[in-house]
Symmetry: D2
Subunit: 356 residues, 4 copies
Amino acid sequence: MHMSFSVAVAGASGYAGGEALRLLLGHPEARIGTLTAHANAGTRLGEHQPHLRSLADRVLEPTGVEALAGHDVVVLALPHGASGKVAAALAERGDDAVVIDLGADHRLVDPAAWEAFYGSPHAGTWPYGMPELLHPGERTAAAQRTQLAGTRRIAVPGCNVTAVTFGLQPGIAAGVIEPVDLVAVLANGYSGAGRSLKTHLLASEALGNAQPYAVGGTHRHIPEIQQNLRSAGAADVTISFTPTLVPMSRGILATATARLVPGTDPAAVRAAWEQTYADEPFITLLPEGQWPTTAATAGANTALVQVAVDAAAGRVVTVTALDNLVKGTAGAAVQSLNLALGLPETLGLPTEGVAP
Amino acid sequence: MHMSFSVAVAGASGYAGGEALRLLLGHPEARIGTLTAHANAGTRLGEHQPHLRSLADRVLEPTGVEALAGHDVVVLALPHGASGKVAAALAERGDDAVVIDLGADHRLVDPAAWEAFYGSPHAGTWPYGMPELLHPGERTAAAQRTQLAGTRRIAVPGCNVTAVTFGLQPGIAAGVIEPVDLVAVLANGYSGAGRSLKTHLLASEALGNAQPYAVGGTHRHIPEIQQNLRSAGAADVTISFTPTLVPMSRGILATATARLVPGTDPAAVRAAWEQTYADEPFITLLPEGQWPTTAATAGANTALVQVAVDAAAGRVVTVTALDNLVKGTAGAAVQSLNLALGLPETLGLPTEGVAP
Amino acid sequence: MHMSFSVAVAGASGYAGGEALRLLLGHPEARIGTLTAHANAGTRLGEHQPHLRSLADRVLEPTGVEALAGHDVVVLALPHGASGKVAAALAERGDDAVVIDLGADHRLVDPAAWEAFYGSPHAGTWPYGMPELLHPGERTAAAQRTQLAGTRRIAVPGCNVTAVTFGLQPGIAAGVIEPVDLVAVLANGYSGAGRSLKTHLLASEALGNAQPYAVGGTHRHIPEIQQNLRSAGAADVTISFTPTLVPMSRGILATATARLVPGTDPAAVRAAWEQTYADEPFITLLPEGQWPTTAATAGANTALVQVAVDAAAGRVVTVTALDNLVKGTAGAAVQSLNLALGLPETLGLPTEGVAP
Amino acid sequence: MHMSFSVAVAGASGYAGGEALRLLLGHPEARIGTLTAHANAGTRLGEHQPHLRSLADRVLEPTGVEALAGHDVVVLALPHGASGKVAAALAERGDDAVVIDLGADHRLVDPAAWEAFYGSPHAGTWPYGMPELLHPGERTAAAQRTQLAGTRRIAVPGCNVTAVTFGLQPGIAAGVIEPVDLVAVLANGYSGAGRSLKTHLLASEALGNAQPYAVGGTHRHIPEIQQNLRSAGAADVTISFTPTLVPMSRGILATATARLVPGTDPAAVRAAWEQTYADEPFITLLPEGQWPTTAATAGANTALVQVAVDAAAGRVVTVTALDNLVKGTAGAAVQSLNLALGLPETLGLPTEGVAP
């Protein structure tokens, strides 16, 4: 059975849009439709994405509902605040495309959390594109997949959120770690910041340098992490969250630690992670003693996870590695799209990284 | 008044030894004496340290007490386990050189802590080469400087230890953070691992990659951090400590967090760090809102520190940046040596980094 | 029609072997058979190639004809000198596998050239795995493809050789550049050196550094370049060839220049490159003014080429970018294998790079 | 004898201005005066140059003659086109400061060459800040030093120009290489492009990438190289010149090759370079067989040079490594300033690099 679909990508000249295209080009059922951009409209895609050889001569159209209408799927890789309007305008025309938002607009359930961190009115919540998210009472993810099956709207998770959620949710669900006083520190590649012209994103500033940002509880991914860990069973969640830019283009290495619930048998810790991820196609709990590295996930829809108990510190330490543009963004989008369209969840998604 | 001194360096073909030489070449009172090596004995220094132009034609002698004797100062940049014997043999000959150990052998006060993490008999404790270390009851460092004045033995601190200690000790001393349940995650440059031929240290493995190591409470720097924070006033210290290698040659960015003591006024937090570091010549608390970056410290004996209160998480977040080979090793050695010899503490030490 | 084949890989724990596996995992007709290694025999592949998720639990067997026999295809990623013996031993057993050598042993036609650069007896010449190589009188490559069709032995070209050949052969064949006094300078990623434990390959030596190697006419790829350009029509070839290691894991950027044949119309220059590469599936002559970058080819079997006439200098300048492990090694192997097996030449080979 | 001087720096928030400040802070006779900027006027220097600890609290004034007047020395690190006006306005006020231009405006002697490559009227020629430049008939540099002694205007050379000139001039002067058909290919760090917000200078574009620019005879440094090699004795000079950006912040590795003059004894080649550089304080011809690396020059006013004869190719190959911001810009400025002020040429200039 074939279930070919056409897909338009808005924001095709940026990093997230480019990665969505790269994955869709490798998807056996996807046909690439219209590509749009804002400032780069009218230019060839090959000028901006020289790695996408087969689309090099495609000319970018101006982002707007006229260009995006008439496809089976629309992927929005836009600055936050823009996706809600595009989706509404499509709906108004009677266009029933599956709309996938790679941005932040529709991830949060709680409008107050949105407004506190983004300072603008909330645009509404869409089904959350993380099939592996545990729901209350679950030890292996099923309910989120059900939620995504057949949906016409998908809000793709934040890349840092994905890494921290994968690291901690098994322990929350199993009740072996405390959901409060979590601490996460991340090493982040620069592509997560997008193709924006800012001084601190220049190569000269990045090379030979490690620089933190959004320190001290201000990062916009914090409420989304809390939401996910509440989904996994936490009553309340507090987390200290610090991302740091390091000189690599792709990749997130998230070190997330939590207090071990007093009296927990260390064996129960590993068992919790094993149970949750044993059958996940894109999340691997590594053999004991082997720690995740970001390079092993480059270009792949893979998250690598490891967990250890530091008895002296009274903490469980987890490390998660993933490619921010793939499992952290565009791969999660395609995986969720497969569910939305009723295709096999893993269809067209690479699991082998490009290393070294 | 001049107080010129001669200095021999053992392990001159390695990274720590090379950095000691670079700094000593810029020291107005130092005269470089014998240089020794193990496997590289008999070769020109210029083959191994092509950046040390003025010493390029020096031939390395085999490391041993014969070559090292007869200097005012001996710097030991040797694998751990070796320095105690060299110092003893020098003493036996009646050689009264100031001996500086860049390795770990003589840092720990507690033999049991040494044996637990290193698995070999303890070699004895030397005065600790961290002039900025707070002693019980201190809010600004004085006692450690007194301890170093006139000493003939110096144990230079571990580089990761220095970064974490500088980040946390003001809050411990001021009683505004809890000394238990500390969490530190570090981004580390590769030179910290020395010039050792190991697969995970190859360029192909490092580029585009972030990799953790010694996760879960096994890193040998842990007891040294605990010792320092006890010196700063903590009754007991527990810490989860995770270093991660990122693709840079030099630099440590240490994100160290601690629980805010309940009821503490946030203003008291900043005041604690300000008080401790206001007059330190080599530690700078950055203006509020500016975060440390490692590149700003490259080649300099400078540590940059910032602190913020994350009220929602109930944690104080500190970030410290330094150059592992300078303030983390060879710069601390020269600074302590200045104190040992009765020279001005800052003599010959650069504070301006080489950036970008 | 299906034409599934089994394939064994010798040297599976190295970079070239790993990349062959990555590509073969994405090949619709390949079934991965035995994996072998030398020092790493007995260990899991996942320890060495953590990015190859689907083969992580495969145990490496000792490299030898017993392990390799009985497959349709054998890929040899071995130190030079080893492949001839393995192939002979397989033939002796009556094993008629297609044998692909990723090493240098069987590339050169002239035994004297081999002995001059490698200092050992020549092991014989195998059909050369560069389908795009021009033969005398050709302007588009056909004869080499014929030579590869149905072959049981393939000698995969050197990665630097491939980049320089692609850059210069159209101009040689068209008679618009002189084949003597060529100059090629390359920026090379570290993976080209393999996973060997050498000091200059350490991350600390590579980061923030550019270092040349094999300068002054000593590099072993020189006779192979000469052989290829003679194939493209040159009577005699002289070339100054200098590779330089730069801080990236993958990629070759080859700047190769040649004297413009006096009196040549500049338009004829571009026309020559256009004609040769217009229909090549894996070589793209970029639009005028756009220059190749290595990142655009990462992970892809793509070579990007550009050419310009520097009239004032009297030289034609070409720049070629490719991924040394893909189009430079393992991709060329699979492409040639497709021809050997009678499969479509492009089957299973990615053309989209993983960027940024 | 003391000869303290005050120095103002215009463009202090950029990379070249920052490096001038770093070196001047280490100069025993320099007192840092006014610092100016354009867009960053009114802000603290510490926001832009966090590595310059001792000047962190200096506030930048708007660039203009009012702010710059009244100093012994004025360093101009401005976009090209600006320095001539500032110098003229200072002269008009009777201000007799030594004015040093780090930009391109006053390097070229030939107005036609300027206009062909820059497209604007020529601003006049200033004494050229390369003390090591050979003049006709010289084998060791003296005349250029004479020209700089006591001058009130200095035009600092281009960084690429310096690397290529140092590589080739000894052979030109000795008559052992042809001055025509030269080929230079450079690996360049990103700081050479300044702190400009351009897409191709972003970290995500730079990491894991090598990208050429200004290929095919268009780079503005070409006429300056020709001018220098004519100074060294060439009747006419033709050169193919290709810079390539590689993922490092600082450093130039210039591979420059030339045709060996037929019949030249190879020993005469090395002798030529030895003679020219034997007594140069900042240029080192490495021992035979050791090749320059950029990391060895980081932060130092050092150029490392090597030369070899490739007899089969009929070419002499030279490789030069230097730090584009030091020997390529700010170090050359201070060195020339020392000569202008009658100070020892080497005063205050580091020769030891910061490596690894």
